[in-house]
């Protein structure tokens, strides 16, 4: 029986991953008011790119910190390119159409990526190479924290700090914030909104890919459909925190991770079967949308006629 601290650690670990993916959802929604259904699949793409990079560059044979760094950066770069390509070819041409059209297109892209991977690579899970010499450190109580969990915490915190620096301390970041306030006014101020939108997609996708690689280290089984449920939960996290709100995405991610872990961990005694793990996120979504649709940190927007 795991202790409270252990559940806490595990919950925060998963939560950090959800936070990384949720950041991508929230940034894209903030500037385009579009739910990028394909974002969860970018997470999967990141994991697979990392897998192939590791094998191609020969890092699959043994643990190597350098290898980990290369794999991480490589997958982030490729995912950024994929994200930008998706935006350019599947979303930009239909930006002027109705919301439903872009939504359907997003679903189409998501299905396309998933099924392309299944068709080419098969749906069977593959084992991600161990790039970290796995080790468990015991904490107070009966809790233990593994090296890969520490890696997840360290890398996600670093990436989030980097993102915050980009958004608040650079010109590009200021432009991103301007576009999220009002696209047309940003255009009038001379901002090339197409470029900024591409950059936003690139950043979000890079974070999701990092999440993918980190998860693959922690839980070495990867398969082409792994992005669906995780992506959906990360979306719930973004909504929970207030969609469009960046700290909200992080908060939402951590909360969903904790909720999921605690419900499954302690619920076993109350008769909640572990298969309900996925239902937790959906239940939270429904509760949030019923009682506080703008999210925890979001602000209410008046709909003007």
């Amino acid at each position: 029986m795991d202790t409270f601290v252990q559940q806490l650690i595990n919950g925060l670990t998963i939560g950090a991953i959800y936070a990384l993916i949720a950041l991508g959802y929230t940034m894209v929604y903030g500037i385009l008011r579009l739910i990028n259904f394909a974002h969860g699949d970018i997470y999967m793409v990141g994991a697979f790119v990392g897998y192939f990079v590791a094998f191609q560059l020969g890092y699959a044979n043994g643990p190597s910190l350098v290898g980990l760094g290369v794999v991480l950066i490589g997958s982030m770069v490729v995912a950024a390119l994929v994200g930008m390509a998706i935006e350019r070819f599947a979303y930009r041409p239909i930006r002027k159409y109705s919301r439903m059209t872009t939504l359907i297109s997003a679903i189409g892209v998501s299905l396309l990526i998933e099924n392309l991977f299944v068709a080419r690579l098969g749906a069977a899970p593959r084992a991600f190479p161990q790039l970290l010499r796995e080790q468990s450190y015991s904490l107070f109580g009966n809790a233990a924290i593994s090296k890969s969990q520490i890696l997840i915490f360290v890398v996600s915190i670093l990436l989030m700090l980097l993102l915050e620096w980009i958004i608040f301390k650079t010109k590009v970041g200021t432009a991103m914030r301007a576009v999220s306030f009002n696209l047309n006014s940003a255009k009038l101020m001379g901002i090339n909104t197409d470029v900024i939108i591409s950059v936003t997609f690139a950043l979000g996708s890079a974070l999701a890919a990092a999440g993918g690689v980190l998860t693959a280290q922690y839980n070495p089984q990867i398969d082409p459909l792994m992005g669906i449920i995780t992506g959906l939960k990360a979306f719930v996290a973004a909504v929970l925190g207030g969609i469009g709100n960046i700290p909200g995405a992080v908060l939402g991610g951590l909360l969903i991770g904790l909720a999921e872990t605690f419900v499954v961990g302690y619920g076993q005694n109350a008769g909640v079967p572990s298969t309900f793990r996925d239902a937790v996120a959906f239940a939270i979504l429904i509760l949030v949308l019923l009682f506080r649709p703008t999210g925890l940190l979001g602000s209410t927007i008046q709909e003007k006629v």
Binding site: L103, I104, G108, I286
Partner: protein
């Protein structure tokens, strides 16, 4: 020709057609032409998908409420009717046979099962619809997806209906049932759409605030459309479950909901003829793709998704948009009467 005569002829033609197809699909065949079991399966699935497409079009195409939870209501209908047919039908049928004879008893039981499936699905639709329909497009889509998944996970954990291992149900369905109820579904949706309820629904789709300003209680109409749509989906679920004779929650995942969406998007979201067309194309296409040389059948879903994106990029209104070529002769007759 007076409208009543036109309608009578239409009904006669449809009934004869259904009987003919049913005969074609049976062992003896139609005038000696029997259907290979493979064709029979495709025809059945087309019928079921027509019901699904037409019902989803009511809520998504005509009312503009984007729902990705259709598979969930199908599952509710399938499993609730299955509970009836597996645990109770045997006894009831035996008692009924004493009163009305074998075949009518069989039919009555199935009719009851379909009713149960439709009603439970309608209730589920009510439960899901009332809280969700206040939400805007993208959120509604995600919430309906969430509800469908919750429904599926809950069903998965009920051991009385098989749980993870699946549930074997008696095979009641034949084409006569599927065809008849497909026609019923089309008639129901057609009549709703061409009534003042339908006009209210379309006005909600076009501009909800303006509709409210004109005195239309949009929530009431949205919930109404949603409940009818889920009832029909439940009906389709009953027919589906008792055709495949084996129920598994894997058949009701969200990919199933997406397939129905593709059907109505392809056909045209405001068009009934379009949904029928879309249902036929999407059901038949994978079978055609299966004949392709080599491994192309693997890429079936890739083709689906690429098709979806392509339609959105080039012709987002689908093949038929909001036009209804199949029914125009009936409509012209309607206008004559007024």
């Amino acid at each position: 020709m007076p409208i009543l005569v036109k309608r009578f002829i239409a009904a006669l033609v449809i009934v004869l057609l259904l009987i003919a197809i049913n005969q074609y699909m049976s062992e003896e065949g139609l005038f000696g032409f029997g259907a290979p079991p493979y064709y029979a399966r495709v025809i059945m699935l087309v019928g079921i998908n027509v019901i699904l497409a037409v019902s989803l079009n009511l809520i998504t195409g005509f009312t503009g409420q984007f729902s990705i939870g259709h598979a969930g209501f199908m599952a509710v209908g399938a499993y609730s009717s299955a509970y009836l047919t597996v645990y109770y039908a045997g006894g009831w049928e035996r008692s009924l046979t004493g009163i009305v004879g074998g075949n009518p008893a069989h039919a009555l039981i199935f009719l009851l099962a379909i009713l149960v499936g439709a009603v439970t699905a309608a209730l589920a639709g009510l439960l899901v619809g009332i809280p969700s329909l206040r939400l805007r497009g993208d959120y509604l889509a995600i919430v309906t997806l969430g509800f469908a998944e919750i429904i599926r996970i809950v069903i998965l954990n009920i051991d009385k209906v098989g749980g993870a291992t699946g549930f074997t149900v008696p095979g009641y369905t034949n084409f006569l049932w599927v065809g008849a109820f497909a026609v019923v579904a089309i008639v129901i949706v057609f009549n709703i759409v061409h009534s003042d309820i339908g006009r209210a629904l379309v006005s909600i789709r076009e501009d909800e605030l303006a509709a409210e300003a004109m005195g239309i209680n949009s929530t009431r109409y949205k919930v109404l459309a949603f409940v009818i749509s889920s009832a029909l989906a439940g009906m389709a679920g009953v027919l589906f479950g008792h055709y495949t004779s084996f129920l598994s929650t894997n058949d009701f995942q969200f990919i199933r909901s997406f397939e129905v969406i593709i059907m109505i998007v392809l056909g045209g979201m405001g068009s009934l003829t379009g949904s029928v067309l879309g249902a036929i194309v999407i059901t038949v296409m994978p079978e055609l793709l299966r004949q392709l040389p080599g491994d192309f059948s693997r890429y079936r879903l890739v083709v689906y998704s690429a098709l979806l994106i392509l339609i959105m990029l080039t012709r987002p209104q689908g093949l038929l948009g909001t036009r209804e070529p199949g029914f125009s002769w009936l409509k012209r007759a309607r206008r004559q009467r007024g």
